[in-house]
Symmetry: C2
Subunit: 204 residues, 2 copies
Amino acid sequence: MTKEKKQMAKATGAENELSTEEKIKAAARIVFAQKGFAATRTRDIAETAGINLALLNYYFRSKQKLFDGIMLEKLQEFFGKVGPIFTNTTTTLETKIELFVSHYIDMLIKNPDLPIFVLSEIRTHPQHFSQAIQIRGLFTQSSFIEQLKERRPEIDPLHFLMSLLGMTVFPFIAMPLLKTITSLDDDTYLAKMMDRKKLIPMWL
Amino acid sequence: MTKEKKQMAKATGAENELSTEEKIKAAARIVFAQKGFAATRTRDIAETAGINLALLNYYFRSKQKLFDGIMLEKLQEFFGKVGPIFTNTTTTLETKIELFVSHYIDMLIKNPDLPIFVLSEIRTHPQHFSQAIQIRGLFTQSSFIEQLKERRPEIDPLHFLMSLLGMTVFPFIAMPLLKTITSLDDDTYLAKMMDRKKLIPMWL
DNA sequence: ACTTGTTTTAATCATTTGATTAAATAATTT
DNA sequence: AAATTATTTAATCAAATGATTAAAACAAGT
């Protein structure tokens, strides 16, 4: 714990070594996503990053500023996939649904904590992040909604969207609970999630 | 340990005054449900209850003990409705689904914060609450699952349950988000939730 | 009224926690 | 190499926060 990487603080040319700033960010991603803003201690992040606590404030000024950066990343992860798929005017409605479900489940398998983290933090600061999300128009004027209204005029697009998202995202939000009551191991549960990539489009 | 509250200690003039213990609990229900355990300050609860901070510790010993009591209530609210409906052997599968969706949405309209609160707290202490939930058997050996396997042998019951719960619960978890992107007011959003009581059974 | 037991308050404690400071160390420039 | 700038550390601060204590206020029984 005395001396290890004293020489090469910046690691400009090095490949496998992360910069201090990136180490902090990487640690912050993990700890924030796992515990949320309120339950996270900056000391936890510092320890996870393997750096001094003061360094965190040197690079990011405050816990809140560090969090805001991470949150922006998470929001983009959470919403990024949706836009391009839903606004694409050259694909059919069926294709959009298949693509969305498939890509989204892939992403959620890699980030199972993402939905509950994002939705929790949005709830505690509803207006603070509403601006960061420009997906408002994505609902009112996307190709997806247009196609839906034309093909199924009797269905309210909002109801359809709620069901699509619910079926896709909820199994990840309730994962700790569902794993307990079904006594499934991680791999089996994961396989079930892969199944849903085909099942959800089929049901809709 | 257990304090026997005598007859109305206070409440001299007023008629419908709550006991101090109940005032604290009522405040704790509100604040915990709104902000979660980590973000809640015991001083907030005390202020909301209109009592001295020390009283909170006098009645409940600690923040954690107060929380555990509230959490148990919330878990029962969250799961209580499901058991009786799903294990009832005298109702059809369709009736079970209709009853569940209808009663559950009614309950969620009264407690919109409940799902995200319960699921968040379960996630942060997965094993601490797993014992408090005896719904494990509810999945493996309920009338609901039996009927489902018989009627739709090709469908995995877990997938069906995930979709049912997802369609029912997710709109409440994502409410702050969905209200923003659709720019709907509270009443309209609420009306949509009522719609779903009929729509979800229809889709399944 | 006096005693007894309970409830409530004000003051305070001990830790935790986010943040800062001043000095040491390394890297870069001149 | 010397000077300058950037990075890192140890030590510490100030505020927030959960919890406790000692005493006051209150109700009920005698």
